[in-house]
């Protein structure tokens, strides 16, 4: 049986599944339910200065797709709206009862050293294992100069991180906002400030939908809406890219990354870990299905690791990073073409419609004695893969590598590339 335990920036956890700082980790009651369900750790919902913030009703928007609810999720809730002392007392109690679980406390206070020094001292007194700096929330707090307003300015990220390292002995995880053009800059600033780790992504600035009767963005609060933070399964690709971008960066090498963004299954977690994450944080999936999803995440990941022969998380952590290359490094002479297995084809014709309408007219729609047959026109197929994606039957359309007899060649060396040494005019 694979060993799922992790030590992330020195914080030990029986498994890599933490609950992200969010509504599910706002109170002792919820966190204890999570620990009973098997979660390896939590990042307690962000604490701020007293008096606490005030939240609105309602708070969530969601994108349903093809009958699946919460493909994407958005919230306009702020940080904890409970008094600081209540949260600190509960954190202390829960950590004492669950010593083997990771207890990280998310923090967001105004951008001055005294505020940070004050709250860090209070958190240290709880026995928590670490702090996470919330430089990410894109709504409500950023307008007050906190959250994403800090995370979007690398100099501020570095400055606040440095204060925290100066005023606390706890490991400092800097949570990054994706609402920037270059996530690596923010990550590098955190590292320069002394961060022990980064976590990403926080939510993405968004409007999930418009209520066409109220003519207002959802969720509506008394007829008005505001932008919120987008998360859930739909953001996973964005998060994966940002995690991978940091993981392969020279300067960032060795800095632990906590992967966040649309993680709902063990497979999602394995993908983040393969791209360099040392653990993962989950929120939307738990809000959608409840805490017991962690059971399959733990079991599924362990079974998959056993099948692959990975004894520990470290065994495959970052294994996909060497294969995450720049476009310029892809082999232009590699060719694959679609193959349709007629024995699996159910004659839906979706491959034909997709290729004929939107791609390369490389699939023929044939009728043989009235029966439909869809056939790849190999000479026209560019191997784009669209047909395989639209085909509803697993394994019916596959992409087969074709021997071209040509050597590995990239854009860097291509004669059409003006900056290539082999560039040919006109």
């Amino acid at each position: 049986m694979a060993d799922l335990s992790t030590s992330f920036a020195g914080i030990k956890s029986p498994n890599p599944f933490w609950l992200a700082s969010a509504p599910p980790t706002d109170k002792a009651y919820n966190v204890e339910r999570a620990f009973r369900a098997g979660w390896g750790g939590v990042v307690w919902k962000t604490l701020g200065d007293d008096p606490p913030v005030v939240n609105v009703s309602s708070r969530y928007g969601a994108v349903a797709y093809g009958g699946t609810r919460i493909a994407g999720f958005n919230n306009i809730e702020l940080i904890t709206d409970r008094p600081l002392a209540v949260n600190l007392r509960e954190i202390t109690e829960v950590k004492r009862k669950w010593p083997d679980r990771a207890m990280v406390v998310s923090l967001m206070v105004p951008c001055d050293e005294a505020s940070w020094r004050h709250i860090l001292g209070l958190v240290e007194g709880t026995g928590a294992d670490g702090v996470e700096l919330n430089f990410g929330c894109p709504h409500g707090m950023s307008e007050r100069g906190m959250g994403a307003a800090v995370g979007q300015v690398p100099d501020y990220v570095e400055m606040v991180t440095r204060w925290c390292k100066q005023h606390s002995r706890l490991p400092v995880i800097v949570k990054l906002t994706p609402n920037v053009t270059d996530i690596v800059k923010a990550a590098a600033a955190a590292k320069s400030g002394g961060a022990d780790a980064v976590s990403l992504i926080n939510t993405i600035t968004s409007i999930t939908s418009v209520d066409l009767d109220l003519m207002a963005p959802a969720p509506t609060v008394d007829g008005k809406g505001t932008h919120g933070g987008y998360c859930g399964p739909a953001v996973k690709p964005i998060a994966l890219r940002m995690v991978a971008e940091i993981a392969r960066d020279e300067f960032m090498r060795g800095t632990p990354i906590s992967g966040i963004g649309g993680i709902a299954t063990w497979r999602d977690a394995a993908e983040f870990i393969a791209l360099g994450a040392g653990n993962v944080q989950v929120c939307t999936a738990a809000m959608h299905h409840g805490f017991r999803i962690v059971d399959d995440m733990i079991g599924g990941l362990a079974n998959w690791m056993d099948g692959k022969g990975y004894a520990s998380i470290r065994d495959f952590q970052g294994a996909a990073i060497p294969n995450f290359v720049h476009w310029d490094d892809l082999n232009l002479n590699y060719k694959s073409i679609a193959r349709i297995d007629p024995s699996l084809c159910i004659q839906c014709g979706k491959c034909y419609a997709a290729c004929e309408d939107t791609s390369h007219q490389a699939i023929a729609a044939l009728r043989e004695n009235g029966a439909r047959r869809y056939e790849v026109i190999e000479a026209e197929c560019v191997g784009c893969n669209l047909c395989a994606h639209v085909c509803p039957v697993d394994g019916c359309i596959t992409m087969a590598g074709v021997a071209t007899g040509l050597p590995h060649a990239t854009w860097k060396d291509h004669p059409n590339n003006p900056s290539s040494p082999h560039f040919k005019h006109g």
Binding site: G67, I346, K350, Y352, R372
Partner: protein
Amino acid sequence: MADAAVHSTLSRDQIAANFADAHPPLNAAQAVVAANRCYFCHDAPCIEACPTGIDIPGFIRGISTGNLQGAAYKILDANIFGGSCARVCPTEILCERACVRTAECGEPVNIGALQRVATDWQMAQPGHPFGRSPATGKTIAVIGAGPAGLSCAHGLARLGHDVMVYDAKPKPGGLNEYGIAAYKMADDFAAREVAFLAAIGGITFAYEQRLGDNLQLADLRARFDAVFIAIGLGGTNRLGIPGEDLPNIRDAVDFIAALRQAPDKSLVPIPARVIVIGGGNTAIDAATQAKLLGADTVTMLYRRGPEQMPATADEQDWARTRGVNIRFWARPLRIERAGDALAVICENGTFTADLVLKAVGQRFAGAGADFIGRRIAVDGAYATAVPGVFAGGDCTDGTDLTVHAVQDGKLAARAIDAFLKG
């Protein structure tokens, strides 16, 4: 002879429940789940399998996006009887058999139920979805207010013509009103559907007008610019065996019609033992309804095997799960009195019953024109040998499904319009 009119032992409530909607409508959540199973195929096999060519993926997409109005329009534009076809079509041998999901996993998209979602929605709206072209001043007589006749009448009305619809019965609807099991057309659906389609305007009805009786073709031809005959079959086949005319032997179609017209099914007499002779949908409908009325035993006698049976496998299962016995390879040779009951003697056994229902097919029983033979002969444009007289539906050759009749009426309306424009 025992009195075949013994009342059921079932309670009135139980009988009412037995005759409620056979397949209750999908709720909104079920409809979305069902609609999202549609792959929105290119060159969709289901469309090809629908005799009226409904754009099935198109209307299902409308349901999945909340465009029920567009979904209903697509259905009703191709088939104004989309509501009754959603209820009575043997989808398992038409669109749903062709559905690629059947090939994929044996579980097709529930097309019939989805069609009902859209058409029920439309019928709950005020007004009528189709407008009429500018009035042409032409008038057409349609003889027969069944699916073929009314499909034609609606099509003609859309094209700007005025239509006079005659029917031999006191109510419109044809087989939808008189010939289909009550639980397939619950809540007076057939009458509501006629009212819905007639709301387009330009359609007038006259009842208890029978062709060749108080309605003469030559007279109609003189008074109208064109005539469309859609009088259905009207007659039933005889068994042609000794004892056929003994008391308590009835045509299944009469039994079904009486049951359909009975406002309180618990007052319809049913004896303890019923035999239905035949293997088509009429036999299934009669046998199942006899059982649901409270007969102790209902046995269908069919002369051949399950593969040959005209009733689909789904229909056979429907009857069996409601307690009907189906005996295959049972060809009746004669019927005799057996004390107070009847004995149906087959090659391989004798079956005793208090009531025997005959359902061995229907035949054309039209009259009133000398060109009428076995059925009315028409060309590819629904024209009979008499200029200006057209015909379609069951009274002409072809498959006898409601959906085929509707298609005949739809296409005949276009043919008549072309004829009138000369």
